[in-house]
Subunit: 397 residues, 2 copies
């Protein structure tokens, strides 16, 4: 059976075994998940997580990758070299997780390789050529998927973000597709609320089609909390472990009001934000503006700011379209009991629960996208990314 | 019919209509060819050229692309942006050539998009990770194939070089695959001799399998001739039009002997060379070494150097494996009658002919590679690139 015939055979299977990869902007580690997927996301895929593992980047490679984030230091030879080196590392991670699961590569149907994003050009560049006016955004990832296919012998679907950009979108969020596929319910209205550094929501109404899905960044997740703890502890702590500081402190209404005056919260979705708005500078401004505030009160207030900005976003852009029955929390914030308690208090009408596959979620999302793209199904969430519906990924046989 | 079903249907056709793209290191233009291919290269493809066109890059884009060739000036934001801009331009060229041929995009099965190479990392970078020792070369191209697929609605096979690198090769020459597929003969031994800036040969013995193909750079093609003419004409001429200067001059045996003493000619293949060896500095050294030589004598001698280095390479590495019946000339050198005359005189035992599709050859080669990769066939020439046999390209549905 040659590789094309193998592709066709894989597409005709009722269930597929897939390795999903993920490597985020923090460049901590390569997350790899081995999943079995029956069916597809459009007709309700059933996903079974067989194994998850996280392979930390060695320090020198992490430093080299992060250097590429700085346009003054990013070197073309280094981009070219790291594209292949990180591709080799993804391949090692794939081979390792399959072996550790007691399986053989021949038993795995697909690899989902989104790549490690190193650059994003958010505003469309425009030019004229051949009587046509052209505008395009851009995104750039390393971790060459051709290397992964070659080293593993497994059909690989890579470069997941570029096609959404090509279709007019922002190339993100990709994971909203997974939220839609896994959470949609005949009767219940659900929000997948991710609380990472930034907090983002995916709203999936009952019987939602892809067009019904809304997804946007609500504002800060753990970022302001983490930065405050870092500064107030003189760099001894990097986050509010178990939400203990927030639990000890009291919310300062004046500080919270100041935080909520940030103009981002009034922008209509789709919208995205990041470290440039809610990073260390923001935390420093809060401390300087309220010099009398006790440290733990500031941490409690930042925690309340995350919850209040989420709740207000729901009230303004989601609840007008109907009640939300379930809010499912993912991301590091799901490990902060004080944050969860505040959310339950603030949104008593919603059932607040923690997502079951906290660590593996994004890698599982990539696996589902690869599964469905292979089948020729739409795999971007156009309503969330601003794109036309399209099929993500490039297939290496 | 969804895009996967369309892919399968295309693969099952007896003949396919394909647009092949090419954009070389000179960044002159996007070459686009519309071809009909019956069968595949392994079983002897029949290719019919329907239309060829060349779309010159606007000066500002050419300058921006060439700036990326300089590692001190290449900027990551510009790499990211130009990846998408050049992808848009490839898409415009595809849509234009199809329309100009009086066809519709729905009638075209595939696009072959090798991309515009902007960087190459020829020596393997090595590192250790997870108890594995890894070494990898690298290559980087722009001209995002996902954009081409999205704008044209046509299945696109892009990123043709990376998989050969992944398989341990140099990512070049890709075109040797086409030479093998198109030239191999049950009884005749053939050389495809390309004479561009650098001259390279693909030798295809009778009944050759892919493993029997040899391909390497013989040395300078037009490069030394062009540089001499440029210097000796005080930058008024850039090449020896119709070989007139070489025809007027006489070959200086002492200069030729000096030229042939260049160590590259003694290296065993596989081997590649370039401007760093036979560029302007080499021409200057020749002029300075022989100050008494008449300009046209130097041009005649450089022409003879090209022919003599080709002939000696044949005598040393090709003829020992059997006679060569046909030498088929491609590249700009095929338009130099003096060079062709010298070759006929030097290799009287071979039938010297000019390839019929001079301009379109490389784009046609890319079209054939896409055609055959789609079918799951090996499309790199491992014996020429130093790789393991593999399937080139990534498929965007």
């Amino acid at each position: 059976m040659n590789r094309l015939e193998r592709l066709i055979a894989i597409a005709r299977k009722k269930e597929r075994v897939i390795v999903g990869l993920m490597s985020g902007t923090s460049v901590d580690a390569i997350d790899a998940v081995l999943v079995r997927i029956a069916g597809d996301g459009h007709s309700k895929a059933v996903m079974e997580k067989l194994r998850f593992d996280s392979f930390p980047f060695p320090d020198d490679i992490r430093t080299r990758i992060k250097t590429l984030f700085d346009p003054k230091k990013a070197n073309i030879d280094e981009i070219c070299t790291l594209d292949f080196i990180v591709g080799e590392m993804f391949a090692v991670a794939v081979n390792r997780i399959i072996a550790d699961a007691g399986m053989k590569n021949e038993e795995v149907d697909l690899i989902a390789a989104p790549g490690q994003t190193i650059w994003h050009h958010p505003r469309p560049a425009t030019f004229q050529w051949q009587d046509q006016s052209i505008a395009t955004r851009g995104t750039l990832a390393i971790g060459q998927s051709a290397v992964i296919a070659e080293r593993t012998g497994i059909t690989t679907i890579g470069d997941l973000r570029v096609r959404d950009i090509a279709a007019g979108g922002h190339g993100a969020p990709l994971v909203a597709y997974f939220d839609w596929a896994q959470l949609r319910h005949p009767k219940r209205s659900r929000c997948m609320q991710n609380i990472g550094g930034i907090a983002n929501v995916t709203h999936v109404p009952p019987r939602a089609t892809l067009n019904d899905v809304a997804a946007f960044d609500t504002g800060p997740g753990n970022m302001v909390i983490d930065e405050l703890v870092f500064i107030l502890s003189d760099a001894q702590e990097s986050y509010d472990r178990d939400g203990e500081r927030a639990a000890r402190g009291s919310v300062r209404e004046d500080v919270l009001a100041w935080g909520l005056s940030e103009p981002y919260f009034d922008l209509d979705p789709p919208k995205t934000t990041g470290r440039e708005r809610f990073g260390r500078q923001y935390a420093r401004r809060m401390i300087e503006k309220f010099p009398d505030a006790a440290p733990d009160d500031l941490v409690a207030t930042a925690t309340a700011l995350t919850i209040e900005s989420i709740a207000r976003a729901y009230e303004r852009w989601i609840f007008p379209n109907g009640n939300v029955d379930d809010v499912i929390i993912a991301g590091g914030g799901a490990k902060n009991p004080t944050l969860l308690r505040m959310m339950r208090e603030r949104l008593p009408q919603c059932a607040i629960e923690v997502y079951e596959h906290l660590e593996a979620k994004e890698a599982m999302a990539m696996a589902l996208i690869a599964n469905d793209s292979l089948l020729g199904l739409t795999t971007n969430v156009a309503s969330a990314t601003g794109a036309q519906p399209t099929i993500l990924g490039k297939i290496s046989l």
